[in-house]
């Protein structure tokens, strides 16, 4: 009973968050001072059909016929039909089809890299905390450096070191143009080769945060009475460690919501450095070409993805921690 209630509360929160994100997405183009959007749309005369242009003017509230409320209702109607508008830079492709072409690359890359970094970082945090006072303590300042360096700088360094100088990995893109995109071994191998450096960047940059967080909680948890009790009973070291670690990991799961936004943001920049054909690359194209419908669509998709990841994290937490079920 408690579980269902707790899950329902989480779900309601993320629905509200999604609602707010959609509303922000509606208001951003309308808050812009001056007429930057109108100026850009005026440039499009001749390149797209008059009907599409008229649609764009209406979409950004520049036609002057509708009240703001009517526009908002219209915007929702379009959204509920899955219509995100027409991209101006990939014209005549629709925004949804442009995003659809990039989203799987991003989901694969960021999803796998985030899981690896969470597992690696947490494990390292446990070890550093357990062996505190040893040489391992010196790992922390080094990790701080990786945490402070922007993702895209790490990406640039990896390209320069492992790509350009050593020629270990391909530099750019998601797959070789010479490979025929089909599900055969050569293609899969090629895709993995191309994904290695971007994934390494994300893991290097984000694992440090998990390590420092886990280590700090673990240091405190190891002083709890139940850990001492487990030790006093003569349980093997490994069991004691797992008791402490299982309790110390809970804040990391909660901290997931704070971190995932950062990781996704960093991953988008990483994609841009590697010209990886995902959402980040599309974002850069949209910005460079002033493709406002695509920009709006990308913001929504990225936000929804982050909210979904958060929801999963919260659900996992409810199952892991009985207290979360009792509170509701």
């Amino acid at each position: 009973m408690g579980t269902v209630k707790a899950l329902a509360r989480k779900l309601a929160f993320y629905l509200v968050a999604a609602l707010i994100a959609i509303t922000i997405d509606f208001f951003i183009p309308r808050m812009v001072p001056g007429n930057a959007v109108a100026a850009q749309l005026a440039n499009l005369h001749g390149t797209i059909t008059p009907a599409t242009l008229k649609g764009l003017y209406e979409e950004f509230g520049l036609s002057g016929h509708q009240s703001a409320w009517d526009q908002y209702v219209h915007y929702w109607g379009q959204l509920l039909h899955g219509n995100l508008g027409t991209s101006t830079s990939f014209y005549p492709a629709s925004v949804s089809s442009v995003i659809g072409g990039g989203i799987y690359w991003t989901l694969g890359l960021v999803g796998i890299a985030t899981l690896i970094s969470f597992a690696l970082g947490t494990a390292l945090g446990i070890v550093v905390a357990w062996r505190r006072g040893s040489v391992l303590d010196n790992v922390l300042p080094a990790l701080t450096f990786f945490q402070a360096a922007p993702y895209f700088f790490l990406a640039i360094l990896l390209v320069a070191l492992l790509g350009t100088s050593l020629h270990w990995f391909p530099l750019l893109g998601g797959y070789s143009i010479t490979e025929n995109p089909a599900w055969n071994l050569g293609y899969v191998q090629d895709v993995l080769d191309h994904a290695f450096l971007p994934a390494l960047t994300i893991v290097l940059a984000s694992a440090a945060g998990w390590t420092v967080g886990m280590r700090n909680v673990m240091v405190t948890t190891m002083d709890e009475d139940y850990v001492l009790m487990a030790q006093a009973k003569g349980l093997p070291k490994r069991r004691v460690l797992s008791y402490a670690a299982r309790n110390a990991i809970l804040p990391s799961v909660t901290g997931f919501s704070l971190a995932i936004g950062f990781v996704v943001s960093g991953a988008l920049l990483t994609e841009i450095v590697f010209s990886y054909p995902g959402i980040g690359y599309l974002l850069k194209q949209a910005v460079l070409n002033h493709d406002y419908p695509l920009l709006q669509g990308l913001f929504l998709i990225i936000t929804f993805a982050v909210l979904a990841a958060n929801l999963i994290g919260d659900f996992v937490y409810v199952f892991l921690d009985p207290r979360a079920r009792r509170e509701a």
Partner: protein
């Protein structure tokens, strides 16, 4: 953050008990803090005098260009760009904008965090429900995509409007601090000293300002540094994406030009390593200072960070023992918590294995 919880731990003297002269916050004198402070001082110096120390104007084209960046030499200590502009001069000139934006954003975000977090924690009820919703929604919405879309629409690429950019960054970066502050105020609201101030008939703003705020200072400082680090990365990212006027020299714009001309694929390391390293070092310096604040808040982290020699000097066993919290007077040196730690010194007992 769990480290924060220990501020309210029973062993820590509440602010009303400390005489006013001892209320200063002094960071532990650990190697981390000293390194952090030194690095940070260097960057502040460069932010103030950097453009005066630059050997050339950052835009100055020093020799006729053949389009190939020149490696470091005596004339150009960090080499040149493809236009034969001096990289060192760009690096020095570029220090000020990023520091200004980062600290402006940090200050604005901290003000927002304190106002919203403290109000939510202190007033409770409906105010708390609404503000908590605002805080949590701001936390889960991804900031950088929002910033990219905002700056994309605002067209900041044509003019360098640093204060505006700092404010936009602050709007996306205040929620973390607000959440931590809210939890802390919530736990203090019903403490005796706050309760008695309320009974005397003090007004809410006075209770918040003079009773609660002083003990929030370490958390506020920590959240300020956190936001500054976030703002440095964000400003650099926006500049790297070309969303900030590319002729306005900052470390991010240097990386933008280096990236655009594919310096990393051509082996022109002197062009992209200095600005990237500078960003990372500035961030590291602030993070090290933050470690100091964390250790100030949570003495257990402090003892864990002692060097081997220091630990032996303090009479601690060579390897830590489970259940033994090594909160030592030595580790507390330089903080105003030192006296209370002497009273609470934990005996060095053997623990059965």
């Amino acid at each position: 953050m769990t480290t924060v919880a220990s501020v309210g731990a029973p062993g820590v003297p509440s602010p009303v008990m400390i005489p006013a002269t001892r209320r200063r916050i002094r960071l532990p004198r650990s190697a981390k803090v000293i390194t952090g402070t030194t690095l940070f001082a260097i960057f502040v110096f460069l932010a103030i005098f950097g453009s005066a120390l630059s050997p050339y104007d950052p835009d100055f084209i020093t020799t006729a260009t053949n389009g190939t960046p020149q490696p470091p030499s005596a004339a150009h200590l960090l080499g040149t760009t493809n236009l034969q502009q001096d990289v060192l001069s760009q690096l020095l000139t570029g220090t000020r904008p990023i520091m200004l934006v980062a600290f402006l954003a940090g200050a604005a975000a901290t003000v927002l965090a304190v106002l919203i977090g403290v109000a939510a924690g202190y007033f409770g009820g409906l105010v708390d429900d609404l503000l908590s919703l605002l805080i949590n929604v701001s936390l889960v919405l991804p900031a950088l995509p929002l910033l990219i879309v905002l700056t994309g629409f605002l067209g900041t690429s044509s003019s360098a409007n640093d204060p505006l950019i700092a404010l936009i960054i602050a709007v996306t970066g205040w929620a973390w601090g607000a959440r931590v502050l809210r939890v802390q105020v919530l736990s203090m609201r019903n403490r005796d000293f706050v309760e008695s101030a309320r009974l005397i008939g003090e007004r809410p703003w006075r209770i918040i300002g003079f009773e609660i705020m002083p003990s929030l200072i370490p958390i506020i400082a920590s959240s300020f540094l956190f936001t500054v680090i976030y703002a440095i990365g964000t400003y650099a990212s926006l500049a790297y994406l070309g969303l900030i006027n590319a002729s306005h020299w900052s470390w991010g714009t240097m990386l933008f030009w280096a990236g655009n001309l594919q310096a990393e694929q051509s082996g022109w390391w002197w062009w992209f390593v200095p600005p990237g390293l500078a960003i990372a070092l500035l961030g590291t310096a602030l993070a090290l200072l933050n470690f100091g604040i964390d250790e100030f808040i949570n003495p257990r982290l402090r003892a864990a960070g002692l060097s081997r020699k220091a630990a032996r000097g303090a009479g601690l066993p060579r390897r830590f023992r489970l259940g033994l919290t090594p909160v030592t007077a030595r580790a507390l040196e330089g903080t105003d918590l030192a006296d209370s730690a002497h009273d609470r010194a934990i005996p060095d007992t053997e623990i059965p294995r």
